[in-house]
């Protein structure tokens, strides 16, 4: 039956250069993406306790979902890359990263639901997949090329003709032809030198960033994977999918160009196209660009070919320094910084914190020429193009302090003997699991809890837009809130099946952040993330859409959109709550793997700065910016800033105990119990945990 799946997953053993297939049907019950990858990892991993991502036994999986390659809006162009990572603290956990662009759809068009890569090649190779044919190509001459040079080389190698001309992928008339280029995912130059930082880049700026995916590729002597296909994706109900797409589009700015809402509540579905433009210098022209099948098209391609397909932290990591150095103006320095991380394949996410940390060390006489930490990088040129180039090249080529930084931030701070002091002060804001502060756990606590109980910065903005950005903008600008705090709580809670009988889920008051309601929110968020975002690969920039200016009574498309779009593709009769339940199952499977890797209650700790109200989360910043969130005080819902709030260690530990209990895990160590795993149909996992002596009591 047509259900969005192609039916087979490509397996590639780099050690033997053998190619095979897995029947997708065996893993369909896990959805796709992260869920499917975790299930396959459980079955294929030679050693589930493995924590060294550079070990040849590590497994890289690039998994699509049934929605990938379809017109499911803000889902059709996405794919998830999974692997044992290189960045996490205290060890590398099974982790992964989502990536957009054309990669996922091209995998499907080539006739695969995913690619599973095992082993290690003896010599540098890149993998060339054209339809169902796989070849191993010599990558010796490509090894030191950057990500753009590598792709240019492979495009010219694979394509018969120029972009836009017909390319024939076989010899027969009906073997398939396309005007597209192959979709390539590649590391930067000699990525083994900066593995924890190394991202896989696709096209100009699509990245699987967190966890050192590029370093894992490099550890296998794998430079790149190129996929080229001309097939299609058969789905259950094409008409239904287009109806659902058009319905969803009606909630987006692109579907309402004649009636753009002038609202701060333009989150997330409702926000406009070309959001990346916020990163460009004033007046720079660009056209909007998006991933396959998207209705939002949040990225851009610019008139000067700088900053193409980048957005968010790709720009932000350097823009404040650029503006500080240039009287508040953004200059080409921000674009140079942006393109440097894309070309070198450096994860942009920790870059801003890194510059702030180095700046703090430099300005306090700890780092520099003749200082305790010897370095001759041009710190007096922070904000200029020269420093952006110098720092990124130092990391990528192990120059100056780059060899230390390349180890990863917590590893570098440990080597320099500064970990404890700088995390406590906030100069180096490692929030949890060795990942730098993204949003502040002291205020937007649901973000922090999500990070604490998972293996990386979860980077899920489902609540962030609503509970922080909109109220903060309203407050800063003196705008009348478009929805009251009470109405926001009502709308969001009503959509959070099966916890929708609790009206206090988004209470971010001093008590609310430790409440049983918050435990429910964190659980729902994780389940939603695990299934809808990371397994069915609904885009984080669009979903969940709780509140929307184009919706009746301001209600967004969640959960109707997720359920409708999935059903149109798969026709499994799956309800939204079924997906949430499956998210819980995926989470427990991953929790079991992390447990085998050494995860324990004692390793789920916040960086010390979170307990210090005066600690600056970003280097030398004072901490007076408002952080306005909804909360319930004396029975009344209000929006209120929580700045200067810190976490209470005793209450955090109590929250952990109650959270583990709510998940059905052992409260003393956070390990899954047999009862919980059996309830989820994961008896075989309980057996294996027990054999390792790691089954929760």
């Amino acid at each position: 039956m047509a259900n969005g799946y192609i039916g087979k997953i490509l397996t590639i053993d780099l050690t033997t250069q053998e190619v095979g297939e897995i029947e997708t049907a065996k893993y369909e019950s896990w959805g796709g993406g992260e869920g499917m990858a975790a299930a396959i990892y459980w079955d294929l991993a030679e050693d589930k306790t493995l924590t060294d991502g550079t070990d040849p036994r590590n497994i890289i999986q690039i998994m699509t979902s049934p929605l990938t390659g379809t017109f499911a809006p803000s889902a059709g162009g996405r794919v998830r890359v999974s692997y044992v990572g290189l960045w996490g603290w205290p060890v590398g956990y099974l982790t992964g990263s989502l990536i957009g662009g054309r990669l996922g759809s091209m995998i499907k068009f080539a006739g695969w639901d995913g690619v599973v890569i095992t082993g290690k090649s003896e010599t540098p190779v890149w993998i060339n997949v054209i339809q169902d044919k796989v070849t191993f190509e010599n990558a010796t001459d490509l090894w030191d090329l950057d990500t753009w040079e590598t792709q240019e080389f492979i495009w010219s190698d694979v394509m018969e003709r120029e972009l836009g001309e017909w390319n024939y992928l076989g010899t027969g008339r009906d073997d398939g032809r396309t005007t597209q280029r192959p979709a390539i995912i590649t590391t930067g130059p000699s990525a083994e030198k900066y593995g924890p930082w190394s991202a896989l880049i696709h096209d100009a700026g699509q990245a699987a960033g967190q966890g050192g995916s590029g370093g894992v590729f490099a550890s296998k002597n794998l430079k790149a994977l190129s996929i080229y296909g001309t097939g299609g994706v058969e789905i259950a109900d094409p008409t239904g999918l287009m109806e659902a797409r058009q319905w969803v589009r009606g909630f987006s700015a692109s579907g309402n160009l004649d009636d753009l809402k002038t609202t701060a509540m333009s989150v997330p579905m409702g926000s406009s196209q070309g959001v990346a433009a916020v990163g460009y210098p004033e007046g720079m022209k660009a056209r909007v660009h998006g991933c396959s099948g998207c209705i939002r098209n949040c990225k851009g391609r610019t008139e000067r070919k700088m900053g193409n397909e980048s957005r968010c932290l790709d720009f932000l990591w350097y823009s404040s320094f650029d503006m500080a150095a240039h009287k508040g103006a953004k200059t080409d320095a921000v674009l140079v910084g942006c393109d440097q991380v894309q070309r070198l394949g450096i994860n942009s996410y920790p870059m801003m914190s890194t510059v702030l940390w180095l700046k703090a060390l430099y300005e306090n006489g700890i780092l520099g020429v003749g200082k305790q930490i010897e370095s001759s990088l041009p710190y007096d040129l922070i904000g200029e193009e020269e420093f952006a180039v110098a720092l990124t090249e130092a990391i990528a080529y192990n120059l100056d302090i780059g060899a230390d930084l390349a180890l990863g931030l917590w590893q570098c701070a440990t080597k320099w003997g500064r970990l404890e002091e700088d995390v406590a002060s906030g100069w180096l804001p490692l929030q949890a699991s060795g990942y730098v502060h993204h949003y502040d756990a002291r205020h937007e606590t649901e973000w922090g809890w999500g990070n604490l109980f998972q293996e990386r910065d979860h980077n899920m903005h489902d609540f962030n837009y609503f509970v922080f950005w909109a109220p903060t903008i309203w407050g800063l600008m003196g705008m009348e809130p478009e929805v009251s705090a009470e109405r926001m709580a009502e709308i969001i809670s009503s959509k959070m099946v099966p916890f929708n009988d609790d009206p206090n889920l988004i209470d971010h008051s001093d008590e609310g952040i430790y409440s049983d309601s918050m435990i429910k929110l964190v659980r729902w968020h994780t389940y939603y993330q695990k299934y809808y975002k990371e397994s069915l690969v609904f885009c984080d920039y669009t979903y969940a859409d709780f509140i929307n200016p184009y919706g009746e009574n301001m209600e967004g498309v969640t959960p109707k959109a997720e359920e409708w779009l999935t059903e149109a593709v798969t026709a499994k009769g799956e309800k939204f709550e079924d997906g949430i339940a499956l998210g819980r199952k995926i989470y427990n499977l991953e929790r079991a793997i992390w447990t085998l890797q050494g995860r324990h209650r004692d390793t789920e700790v916040y960086g010390e700065y979170n307990y210090n109200p005066s600690a600056a989360p970003f280097g030398l910043a004072t901490y007076e910016a408002p952080y306005t969130v909804p909360m319930r005080i004396d029975g009344e819902w209000v929006y209120k800033s929580t700045n200067s709030r810190s976490l209470d260690k005793v209450k955090v530990e109590d929250f952990k105990t109650r959270y583990y209990a709510a998940e059905g895990w052992d409260e003393t160590n956070g390990w899954p119990t047999r009862a919980t795993l059996e309830e989820l149909g994961l008896d075989y996992i309980a057996d294996e945990l027990e054999s390792y002596g790691k089954l929760g009591a």
Binding site: A253, L260, K261, T262, T263, A264, S266, V267, P268, G270, S271, S272, V275, A277, V278, R311, C312, L313, L316, S319, S320, M323, A324, K327, G328, M352, L356, E363, H438, H461, Y465, W469, T472, I473, G475, L476, M477, G478, M479, P549, F618, G619, L620, A621, T622, E624, A625, P626
Partner: protein, 133 residues
Amino acid sequence: MEVLTPSIEQAQRTLCDVATGDIIVGTVFTPRSGQMPARMKSVHEVSQFLEDLTGRDYAVVSRKNIHHIDYSSLVTWIRDTVGDSDLATVVDELISDGRAFGMLSGEVKEVLSDRVRQCERVLGPSLTEEGLE
């Protein structure tokens, strides 16, 4: 309220860069993307950092950043670090009516910019060209 014309010494102090350890830090909010610190070492830089925008500028079509600085900290910094109590008093009075940050941003920017121009006039081109760092 107008700021009194400064003396030459006062004008020099007001236009000077403060020491590295005495900078004032604002925040650039990039809606729906992130926050970044913005570090400023002079009244002039603060005046350039602040923007005269309205709530409408943060709507769906404009995608503007918000350049935020805590006004109470700014007043303290101008008075105690920069050493311009007259300017601090004017800014303090301006912000005392409790309006939201964004509704005051343009006015605070204007006061700071006026003060910078006033100081530059007092010093004249030869003195400002010498550099005040």
